[in-house]
Symmetry: C2
Subunit: 142 residues, 2 copies
DNA sequence: ATCGACTATGTTATGTTATTACATTCGTCA
DNA sequence: TGACGAATGTAATAACATAACATAGTCGAT
């Protein structure tokens, strides 16, 4: 990944300003953030309306750089290089601390593909999420 | 509550009235319904507020009778008997017609369990959804 | 340089989904 | 009957997402 430490990095490459801001905000945390949480964090940097965030997210998701985690309506950076092409991320989302861990598994991808083929369903996107308690949280007050 | 001449009884067993109404509404369709769509369909039957629907859904989901389909924020009857105990339903959701087909697969369940164990994640619920085009819709205007 | 096309943005308003908080009613059983 | 817990009613609001329309930057071809 490139550095981009400039606070605001104006329209760099093919990436818009808001897109870069949202990306930077997501880089600064290890938890998925909701669109309005992103909005709060970017106030004062020229981002004032939900649409600015949603548009940026749409593009980042289309690029495969960001995933939406449906079960919590939040957005996380993709921690896997070629996700755009391969898809099939699995998220383990902790209900206590909010951490979402992304993993990938080729046999899962095959299995889902087989299930879809069996019913002649043309898959465009897959959502696989596990909700539960992560190892760290299981230790505390378990 | 005056009449309720509806086919199904008032507060039957341990099931509340609203719960039964929501269940009946879901039975009358093959597509997942949003909470507010359910609300619209139940107006005039004594259901006027979102909370009435959400509470009913919460309980039905807890019973394993209804699933929430996260990727479309809608609710569908479980078409699989012992879902409450086994979990691991897979939904194929058609983006054209809205139909959601539920399937189950033991090896998928094992695979997800293995993935979770690998990172010592205690799974409470799983969400597996395929978004795409169903066989019927692929035929039309394909 | 400037025109045009395209992409990104800004702004306002609104639609959709879900929850909080608190009061009331119902069912059961000692 | 009265107490208790479960279910319900009601109002308000929070959280998530998009529609519609106007404006401004980017870039290539003339």
């Amino acid at each position: 990944m490139s550095d981009c430490e400039a606070p605001v990095a104006v329209t760099r490459g093919r990436r818009g300003r808001n897109q870069q801001l949202v990306l930077d905000a997501l880089r600064q945390t290890d938890k998925p953030l909701g669109a309005y949480e992103l909005l709060r964090r970017l106030r004062g940097l020229g981002v004032y309306a939900p649409l600015q965030v949603y548009r940026a997210l749409d593009r980042l998701i289309a690029e495969g750089i960001v995933h939406k985690i449906e079960s919590v309506s939040a957005y996380a950076l993709c921690t896997h290089a070629g996700c755009a092409s391969e898809g099939h991320a699995v998220f383990a989302v902790c209900t206590r601390c909010g951490l979402a861990t992304e993993t990938h598994d080729a046999s899962l991808a095959r299995l889902l593909a087989r299930l879809a083929r069996r019913q002649r369903f043309q898959v465009q996107a897959t959502t696989v999420e596990l909700s539960g308690v992560c190892e760290a949280c299981a230790g505390t007050t378990a």
